[in-house]
């Protein structure tokens, strides 16, 4: 799974995030007040305009203070009744059709069926729930204004904040109901779809003898199901498991029947998981074995993975912290995804050979090198044993204990090197981790649904906000535009960082002026421009242009950034810190949109 940015601890994230939010909110409020004053000043003069703005702010604050939960709940109930009587439950029928199509057309023999089914179901649920609730949100208030029903409501002691909040809560309740049903149906569908088993016939199993000719166990192959079969290694009693293939394995039990041993293959294990990784910090060593800032670039524009060269001293070194004997008493379960870049074809059916070593970061004591073979597109598992050999200076080997000899203050280094000259290993910090434990898949799935719920909440509040002053079609387009711009939020942030730091690898191609220049002159984005005075001026202009864009980008919600379905589909537990950060971000956007919507509704005439 790609994890481009480290997930910060919530306690460290919330302070700066809150500060940014307050800053952005203050700027927007000031801008809105100034714009209102300007418009009023044209009509009524500056003093009268100032008085109106002051009275407007005072009244708005009073309105917010006077919000009553009873009225909000009444309006929320109304929104629910409206939705139900507008046949919103048709969305469930659409979801049923989607499930049917998924059952027909998704290939259960896929290399990674868990990712395929989970990605599809969570994606479809997200799309359907957000679309339905957005439509509800943008249709409701304009319809009330058109039918003039809003006039009857507005002549009751109802604050505009209550109208907006009531609608947001009402549609959220509707959306939550839809999400619950879709989530449960989707979960059952995924579990049933990936579930399969194999047969292990006695005829496909042969006995294995040890050196003394005694029975040591059995080896064989399962039957082919869903486009794959597993090799099987069993102990002398017939128990064991089918080897991991396509990301899963099966437990095998044996029992005696009248004709000898009969084998029973269990359900798949490892498809629907919630791994809890303990990630380390990655540094690189260059060809000479000296520390380097980065690995080698093999020309890929996406710089997520850096490469180490085979047959040299080049290495990728992860430093893990917080290791304790209590958590890993039996050894370290290491999992890794290593990309391979071949400068020659070699034996394409075989992986590229390399080694792993553990090293004490304080004493520099190294273990012996463990051979590995990197295979593309799979998560390779490697068990670092509790006891291993270490090579002494005189060439002798000596046994050493993982925690006594290699772990120092909870820290441990693991070195990865590629053995084959002119071949490269591609690695990223997040691709290499210790499996600290496993969470419940069902809980993880629920967490992912919570991510969809956050997105839904933002979509609803955005739609309701726009519907307070725009007609339905325009509010719909405006909402979609904001969500679209939000998708570029991270890119704009990276672009700005790239301009400010001068590091073009963060976001190659430069700002708007430089991009235009490159388009006109057909200059590749990977090519550095000569630092002539003209280029310097161009880059400076870009920085000035990008600064407000960077600030404004923070005001647009990014639904993809809130998405956590990739964690579930890739079999990783969704970190609580990430979920808490998403919850806080959602709350901030909902509060901002709610306040903006209430002010916009208050500023308009609900009758004509």
């Amino acid at each position: 799974m790609v994890l481009e940015q480290e997930i910060p601890r919530f306690s460290a994230w919330i302070g700066p995030a809150l500060l940014s939010f307050l800053l952005a909110a203050s700027l927007v409020a000031l801008f809105a007040a100034a714009a209102t004053w300007l418009v009023q000043a044209v009509a009524s003069g500056p003093l009268e305009a100032g008085d109106r703005v002051y009275r407007g702010v005072r009244t708005a604050l009073g309105d917010f203070a006077g919000i009553a939960t009873g009225r909000v709940w009444a309006l929320a109930r109304l929104a629910v009744q409206e939705s139900l009587r507008r046949n919103v439950l048709v969305a469930l029928a659409v979801f049923a059709v989607v499930i049917l199509f998924a059952g027909w057309f998704l290939d259960p023999a896929n290399v990674d069926p868990g990712r395929l089914y989970l990605g599809f179901i969570l994606g479809a649920t997200n799309l359907l729930v957000c679309t339905v609730t957005l439509l509800l949100a943008v249709f409701s208030l304009p319809a009330d204004i058109k039918s003039k029903a809003i006039q009857t409501v507005a002549t009751k002691p109802v604050r505009t904040g209550e109208i907006v909040l009531g609608r947001i809560i009402g549609f959220t309740l509707v959306g939550t109901g839809l999400l619950l049903v879709m989530g449960l149906v989707g979960w059952a569908f995924v579990v049933r779809s990936v579930s399969h088993t194999h047969e292990l016939l006695k005829t496909s199993v042969r006995e294995v003898l040890d050196g003394d000719g005694n029975p040591a166990g059995f080896q064989g192959r399962t039957s082919a199901e869903r486009g794959h079969r597993h090799f099987v290694s069993l102990d002398a009693a017939g128990g064991g498991r089918a080897e991991t293939f396509r990301g899963h394995r099966h437990a095998i039990t044996a029992r005696q029947d009248g004709e000898g041993l009969a084998f029973e293959v269990g359900p798949p294990q490892g498809i629907l998981e919630a791994r809890r990784p303990l990630r380390g910090r990655l540094v690189f060593l260059d060809r000479q074995g000296k520390p380097a800032e980065k690995g080698i670039s093999v020309g890929a524009e996406w710089t997520y993975r850096q490469y180490i060269e085979g047959g040299t001293a080049s290495a990728a070194v992860w430093t893990f912290e917080g290791l304790s004997e209590r958590d890993f008493s039996g050894g370290l379960p290491l999992e890794m995804t290593i990309r391979v870049f071949r400068t020659y074809k070699g034996t394409i059916t075989e992986g590229i050979h390399g080694t792993l070593q553990v090293r004490n970061p304080s004493t520099q004591l190294r273990s012996e090198a463990f051979p590995i073979v990197a295979r593309e597109h799979t998560i390779d598992e490697f068990w670092i044993p509790r006891t291993m050999n270490t090579v002494l200076a005189d060439g002798r080997t000596q046994q050493a204990d993982l925690f006594t000899d290699f772990v120092s203050d909870g820290r441990l280094e693991i070195w990865l090197q590629c053995l084959e000259p002119a071949q490269y290993y591609g690695v990223a910090q997040a691709d290499f981790y210790l499996r600290a434990g496993d969470g419940s898949f069902a809980v993880n799935y629920a967490k992912s649904c919570l991510g969809i719920w956050f997105a839904m909440l933002i979509v609803i509040s955005l739609g309701v906000m726009f519907s307070t002053f725009l007609s339905t079609p325009v509010a719909l387009v405006a909402s979609l535009a904001v969500l679209l711009i939000g998708q570029f939020r991270e890119f704009i942030a990276r672009l700005f960082a790239s301009q400010v730091t001068g590091d073009s690898t963060i976001a190659p191609g430069g700002g708007p002026i430089e991009s235009l220049y490159r388009i006109v002159t057909q200059t590749s984005i990977t090519l550095e421009l000569d630092p002539t005075p003209a280029v310097q001026v161009m880059k400076l202009t870009d920085t000035v242009l990008l600064a407000p864009m960077r600030v404004a980008a923070g005001l647009f919600p990014s639904l993809s950034a809130l998405g956590t379905s990739d964690f579930v589909a890739s079999g990783f537990d969704i970190p609580g810190d990430l979920l808490a950060a998403h919850a806080a971000e959602t709350l901030a956007f909902v509060a901002a949109f709610c306040i903006a919507g209430a002010l916009c509704l208050r500023a308009r005439e609900v009758a004509s």
């Binding site: 009553a68 009444a74 109930r77």
Partner: protein, 308 residues
Amino acid sequence: MSSAAPLPVGDVVIEARNLSKVYRDFWGRSKKAALKPLDLEIRRGEIFGLLGPNGSGKTTTLKLLLGLIFPTSGEARVFGHPATDVAKNDRIGYLPEESYLYKFLDAEETLDFYGRLFGIPAEERARRAAALIEMVGLTRDRRRQLREYSKGMTRRIGVAQALINDPELVLLDEPTSGLDPIGTREMKDLIIDLKQRGKTVIMCSHLLADVEDVCDRIAVLHQGELKELGRVEDLLTVTGVTQFRVRGLSSEACEEVRAVLARYGGAEIEVGHPTTTLEDLFLEVVRDTEARPGRRARSPAPSAAPRG
């Protein structure tokens, strides 16, 4: 006329000073002056009528008083609060021109919803809703969605929602619009009943008879401008003409009265039998038919109240 009692000199409930409204287009250009500067005071306990032809500014005035639209100039105050202050709405009931209600709700749900907006406790809400539904004659149809209601039924439930909070001030926009003669009479009776219960009622209508029947004071608007303002009886009194209404006078006596009038220099305008109103005739027929089903209605009693 509802009552010949003198106007109560109570508190001022509504006050408009130099209140005007100009509708503008998207570019801010003046489109229509819906209401020219208006000064108005309405006192507690009055039934006040805003009278005028279509487009005269009646509804605009009402919307300005309710804070549904903002004045171009001037100020309106309701119970001493600015018209845009939500707090005033606690004491107000409003029946819009066409009962703008949620069609997907039934009558009970409608009243429950608006009752909730006033923060009325659940038990009291249910009691008031049942009483109001019975009052407007919708008990049998209380569980039907409003989309299935006729125009008259919609007006009735509209009235019920306007009264759910037992308001001190009731604003009625064309209250008899869409009602049959019985409904119209019931509405007028209701308005008079509200006054007797100490409420202030403001109604706007272009139906002159309705206004004349119930209002204490009226304002006549035309092309957004206030043309007349005063007590109905003062405005309608024709000075210089004296009217006698006598029962059981013979033709000889009539001739004698004429002679006396001529002796005193009175110019005769009209002598004859007064007529009742069509509304009274209709109500009489309906009542008689209901009292004696299956029979043809009797002619109205000679003692039926004459017009005037």
